[in-house]
Amino acid sequence: MASRRPALHRGPRAPLVLRLAGLGVAAATVLPIAHLAVRAGEAEDAGSLVVSPRVLRFVWATVGLGLTVTLLSLVIGVGVAWLLDRTDIPGRRMLAVGAVLPLVVPTYVGALALLAAFGPGGLAFELRGIVGFWGATAALTLSTFPYVLLPVRSALATADPALEEAAQALGDGRRTAFRRAVLPQVRPAAAAGALLVFLYVLSDFGAVSIMRYDTLTRGIFLEYRSAFNRSSAAVLGVLLVVLTLLALAGERRARGRMVARSAASSAGRASSVTLGPWRWPAFTAVIALVSAGTGLPVGVLTYWALRGASRADGDALVGAVGTSTGLSLGAAAAAVMIAVPVSVLVVRHRSRFSRIIETLATAGYALPGLVVALALVFFASQYLSPLYQTFMIVVVAYVVRFFPEALGAVQSSLVRIDPVLEEAGRSLGRSRLDLARTVTVPLLRGGLVAGAALVFLTAMKELPATLLLLPAGSDTLATLVWTGAADGRYAQAAPPALLVVAISALVLWPLDRVRDRRPRQ
């Protein structure tokens, strides 16, 4: 590997545009946090609330669930990534798309499906103890492990197989070579994915409410929904923010040094491991995973759609497809567009400033949608009334909530672009902007597409912020699912839920193609 220039001293200061982009993003995330702090300050008993055994139980439960799901997601995500990219597992292409699909299943649908299949009186057989911790763990792991799988796969695709071969040549077995040469290369990607998983678990309400597992976020929702007490809710929210900041600090330690490598180096395709007799068992295992994560929910939804007497309103569905797709596309595009300058700031201009921006930009991910939505309700209704109750503000909410997905994808892509390419461009007389257009963005393509797709998928299933911010009279697919499910009309709820899955699958298909292609056309 080429010796690196002193990257810390690159340029005196980040250009103003980058710093402004960073500040803008940070401000957007600080908004809900500040709002929470103000509301928490209104609680008369904030102090005693924080140390009450009940709240401590929530914190403990949240951390326990978060760590368990993160650990399982890491194991599954890295394992499946390795199977797909480094072995001769059959049906690779199909499995690759299938393995990411669970991402598009809303967690409340996934959890309901698990209960419907394995709960008491379930359609399949009853698993004791499915309700509670293990049920929540299963539902959340099944829908979040792709957050690890996706970045690890793209890291593996660009990891230098020479290192692996070198390790083997030095006498390491394949297993040791994997541990010593491959894992360190995928570590930043895995850590970034694990962070998303952990924060997602912090913010999730769907799975924990269906599985009746008390986390902080469930506590927050309950304060709003049944106790009508927004200041206690805010106190819990502040605790959640604290947990988030701790998680971010933890991830920073785990990430280790980012492995940067020249985009120009022409690493060959890594040799693939022959699974031998394990080929079909491995295939079956991945299929089982896909079935549990996607097949099961789709099956249960279909069953509901057929069994129930209620019907979905066709016109409403058509309208909701348009609204959902438009909003999610808008959020995806806005998120990656903002993610480009922020990534450049974070990756190319490391400083205390950029680290703070990165932390703040990521913190929003752990906030429950309801908290983000209420903060935006407050600020928009008071200070931005022309924007309030428009589609625009929904897009803003999505971007605030899901920006880290875009940032992570673009950032890990940018890390792999040698900054010397940008210098080369500038020395050839091209301006920074020109260069971004002709070199950086084309080379970031994989990251941009991955980031946009992640945001799109997550936005498609977003409910709490959508409900509060969507202009009156419109619906998204997620709100239609909610309308049906909240009223027990599962047959009405199933078609929009199935549409969310179907549209998302359509998005994932090209995503995998783009990923597999070489950097040029």
Partner: protein
């Protein structure tokens, strides 16, 4: 790839223009924040529009979230009417002085028990807290006559209830009011000790009863009718507890509405409230959602015990606010939520 990128850019522009197009405020008709499900009230609201020619815009969400939204928006809210799933949320708005006093003739349509003491909100429909049971497993004669009896050891692990549901909380508040704090606590502790299963809401509780996960549960009466509508063969039925003298009585909570202060459409809002309390709308609720009509003189479904025949809990819904807080605290203290 460039195509994808262009499509994404086009998406942004599309979303942007949609956003601006959607930002028509002011002349946008009567704005209603509904904590009640669109399935329950949507058809009726459409009919209101057709019948009166008044444009309405409805924002559906959960009652608690709608309340939180109204609180965040404060004076700059766009909402004219708040349609709430339960009395507690209306009580909080009334307490904060956010609701206008409704005209007396309107209030007089509804029994005093089911409206705000100072006329800030009025009940539209009523729902009774009942014991629902699985008819495949239990005969009606086996079902306890009092909700308080479900803590009997013979029901250990066989009872379901939604501890975080607003109606359940109101029910606990009513127990507290009638029998005192300690008795209410003992009841909750009994539920806990008896391994009563907790569900997220009435509906999931009823589902659990229907599939035999538990044998009986504490729910609102009308979910049974929704469940039967979706699944005609569901083996569930309702039992109205607490009818004997000295027992707790059947607790009836209301869904209701109030008009927000600062509305620039008070006339339309007034017509809306009148419409919902009109005989036609009240009959709609009775037939579609199986709730109790609140307008005096409109009868409930014949298969339900009539409201005036029912021994109901005597509790002032209008001043339930503090009681609710205490009830929530009690439920938390016992460790049920």
């Amino acid at each position: 790839m460039l195509k994808i990128f262009r499509a994404v850019v086009a998406g942004v522009i599309l979303a942007g223009s949609l956003g601006w197009a959607g930002c028509s405020r002011g002349g946008d008709g009567l704005v209603i924040y509904s904590g009640r499900n669109k399935n329950l009230v949507g058809p009726l609201l459409d009919k209101f529009e057709r019948d009166t020619g008044i444009d309405i815009q409805v924002k559906y969400s959960d009652t608690g979230e709608a309340l939180a939204t109204l609180l965040e928006e404060g004076q700059s809210t766009n909402a004219d009417v708040f349609l709430s799933q339960d009395a507690g949320a209306l009580g909080i708005l009334a307490e904060r002085g956010r609701l206008v006093r409704l005209p007396q003739d309107l209030l007089d349509l509804v029994d005093e028990r089911f409206r705000h003491g100072d006329g800030r909100w009025v009940g539209v429909t009523g729902r009774a807290r009942v014991i629902a049971y699985n008819t495949d497993i239990l005969d009606v004669s086996e079902v306890p006559d009092s909700a308080l009896d479900v803590v009997d050891p013979k029901w250990k692990g066989k009872v379901g209830f939604p501890p975080t549901n607003a109606s359940f909380i109101a029910f606990v508040a009513s127990l507290r009011e009638q029998f005192g704090h300690e008795r209410a606590r003992a009841f909750l502790q009994g539920l806990k000790d008896n391994d009563a299963k907790r569900y997220d809401n009435n509906l999931l509780t009823l589902d659990a009863i229907a599939n035999g996960e538990v044998q009986l549960g504490l729910v609102n009466h009308y979910y049974l009718h929704a469940e039967l509508k979706e699944r005609g063969d569901a083996p569930v039925a309702n039992h109205y507890p607490g009818q004997e003298p000295g027992q707790e009585g059947t607790f009836v909570n209301v869904s209701g509405l109030g008009i927000l202060k600062g509305t620039d459409r008070s006339e339309d809002a007034d017509r809306f409230v009148r419409y919902l309390l009109g005989p036609e709308a009240q009959a709609f609720f009775r037939d579609e959602t199986a709730e109790y009509p609140m307008r005096k003189g409109v009868d409930a479904l014949s298969e339900l015990p009539a409201l005036d025949q029912l021994r109901t809990v005597d509790i002032q819904l209008s001043s339930i606010g503090d009681d609710l807080k205490a009830a929530v605290q009690l439920i938390k203290d016992v460790g049920l939520s």
